[in-house]
Amino acid sequence: MTVLIIGGAYQGKRKVAENLYADLPRIENLHEIVRKMLKEDKDPLSLADTLCGHVITCDEIGCGIVPIDRADENWREAVGRLCCALAQKADAVVRVIAGVPQFIKGEKP
C-alpha cells in the first residue's frame, strides 16, 4: 500500500502517518529529499517508483509566488510533479489541515 500525506508545514502530517499507517515504512519530508537530490543532480521523479509501499509525508510548497532563484523554482516544480506522480500511484492521498486528515483519494483505513 502506498499513501501520500501532504499539507502545509506543521499541520500534523507525521502524527496522521503514525496513527493511521503505523505498519507501513515511513518517508518524511519528501520536499527536503527532492531538494537534496536536485543538488546532487539526480532526478527526483525516479522516486515515484521506489517509494511505492511507503507512507510518505511532504509539505505543500507550491502555493506562493514564483521564486526569483531558478534553483528554488526548479525545486518547487520537481516537488509538484513528483507529488502528482505519487498521487496517481497511491492508494490514498491525505491532505492534513490543522491536524485533520482529509482523504482526497481513497478512504480512511
Partner: protein, 176 residues
C-alpha cells in the same frame, strides 16, 4: 458556462483544464497569455504545447487586453491559460492596463471571451499561501489576483483546485 481551475505550481491544473474543455467542447481554442521571455517561460510553453498536441486546439496568443480581442469565429470551448500571467502583463508590461484598471480590464475580458464560446475554462494560480512578505508591487499583484478569484468564482458555474493532480471541488457544477 464558466469554470475556474486553480492550483499551486506543478499541481496538474493545466491537464485537468484541458480535459474539461475536451469533454465539453468539439471546437476548441487555446488562448495563451504568457509572454515568451526567458528560459523558464519557454520551457513552460513547450510543455503546454506538448500536452495539447493532437487534441485539436486552435491557438491564439494574446498577452493583454482581452476585452478588445476580436475572434473570427465562435468556439464550443475556450481554454484561457492563465490568469496569473494575464494579470502580471496588465500590471507590469508597459502597454498593460496598470494597477488602477487591471481588475476591471480582466473581468471585461472574461465577459468578452464568453461571447465567443459556450464553455470558458480559466486556469489560475494559487499563490496566496507562502507567507512571505513581498515588495508593494508584488503584494498588490497577489491582492488583485485574490480579488479576481473571488469575483470570477461568483460568476462561475464550477471552481476546482488541483492538488497533486487530484481535482477538488471548491464550487460544484449544478447537475441539470
Amino acid at each position: 458556462m464558466l469554470i475556474l481551475v486553480t492550483g499551486g505550481a506543478a499541481s496538474g491544473k493545466s491537464e485537468h483544464a484541458e480535459r474539461l474543455v475536451c469533454e465539453k467542447a468539439q471546437s476548441r481554442l487555446y488562448l495563451a497569455t504568457m509572454q515568451p521571455f526567458g528560459k523558464s517561460a519557454e520551457a513552460r510553453i513547450a510543455r503546454h504545447r506538448a500536452l495539447r498536441a493532437g487534441k485539436g486546439f486552435a491557438t491564439v496568443e494574446r498577452t493583454l487586453d482581452l476585452a478588445n480581442l476580436r475572434l473570427s469565429r465562435q468556439y464550443d470551448g475556450i481554454l484561457l491559460e492563465d490568469l496569473g500571467n494575464l494579470l502580471a502583463n496588465e500590471l507590469f508590461a508597459p502597454e498593460g492596463a496598470g494597477a488602477g484598471s487591471a481588475f476591471d480590464s480582466i473581468v471585461a475580458g472574461v465577459d468578452n471571451l464568453q461571447k465567443y464560446c459556450e464553455t470558458l475554462v480559466i486556469v489560475s494560480n494559487e499563490i496566496f499561501a507562502d507567507g512571505v512578505p513581498y515588495p508593494p508591487e508584488t503584494m498588490q499583484y497577489i491582492r488583485i489576483l485574490g480579488e479576481l478569484h473571488q469575483k470570477l468564482t461568483g460568476k462561475a458555474d464550477a471552481v476546482y483546485e488541483s492538488v497533486c493532480g487530484i481535482l477538488l471541488p471548491v464550487k460544484e457544477e449544478k447537475q441539470p
